[in-house]
């Protein structure tokens, strides 16, 4: 088995943990469960986390990825943190709209807008 590469790029910016996805497709269950593990670790590290997921590079995602986001949202809330999503491409945003998850998540057009909303 090849050495496992991180699926995420994590940076700290003004008290906000900004996560970008390395994969353009968040589809298959294996990488999704790895992404979930990486994100869970981030949230577990600190309480009151301000977490921003930037979807700039993401071109596709599946319902399993939506499930991961829902779980993450719960984890963040349990730790009294806040979660924002940004830069979701129109076809992907459509998936959020169809599933009405655009109502569950706090979604912003740009990373900057999302960062200012904390």
């Amino acid at each position: 088995m090849a050495e496992q590469q991180s699926h995420l790029t994590v940076t700290e910016s003004g008290g906000v943990t900004v996560v970008e996805f390395a994969d353009r497709k968040i589809l298959d269950e294996l990488s999704i469960s790895e992404i979930q593990d990486e994100l869970s670790r981030l949230v577990a590290e600190k309480s009151d986390v301000k977490l921003l997921l930037c979807f700039k590079n993401v071109e596709h995602l599946s319902s399993a990825a939506l499930g991961t986001l829902i779980n993450l949202n719960k984890q963040v809330q349990d730790k009294r943190g806040q979660l924002r999503l940004s830069d979701i491409a129109p076809p992907i945003y459509e998936v959020f709209k169809i599933t009405r998850l655009n109502k569950l998540f706090n979604i912003h057009a740009t990373r900057q807008e999302a960062q200012e909303s904390f």
Partner: protein
Amino acid sequence: MNTSRSNEEKAFQTCVIRSELRETQVPKDRILDALRRNNFDEEAVFAVKLALEEALTNAVKHGNQCDPCKCVTVRYAVDDEKAVIAIRDQGAGFAPDTVPDCTSPERLPVPNGRGIMLIRAYMDEVCYADDGREVIFTRRKDSTRSPAEEGMAPSPVRRTIFYSGGVQGVGFRFKAEQIAGTLPVTGFVRNLVDGRVELVAEGIESDLDRLQQSVQEAFAGNIRCVEASASPATGEFAGFSIRH
């Protein structure tokens, strides 16, 4: 219009995979290649990719429960008009209509259960066969579908049709089976002792209309009376066949 001819010529390719998620890449790649060869636009490719991902994951995980002794059979036909994909597992089956609405307020925070509705939202036609072990979906090339606004694809229904007149001993059932074979419908056709022919088909309304119309045209001189009734689809049929 040569729609019916191109339907009849449509040959399904088959790809059988083991019940492992990484195996699903093979049919995905083949089908998406076929879409691109037929110049489907990126929106259609996105839609089919999503539906394939959801349906194959369901077949491997929920249908076959990742059982290594079971396999998933993918059949697909892509031409200049549409892509038709059928995915069958060897699991216990399920009743698609009993899956709860994942957009209801109490289900919204539940992490799973969105695959089926995404397939319905992105495909032009979706139907289930063989007690839910097979899902058959179609995306038309010229689809103007906007999933978020139009909501779900039409659900399949059952149509029971009784034909009376000189309908037995004239090749009625064979022709009906042949016509049904060109459409994404399931069910059966049989002779009744009272001289009538009973045809039961499940699929979406527009395909059932096409079936009914084609049968009617083929036997216009034989049919004296047609009685048709609608009821909810059961997904109990594996295909369309003649019953004796």
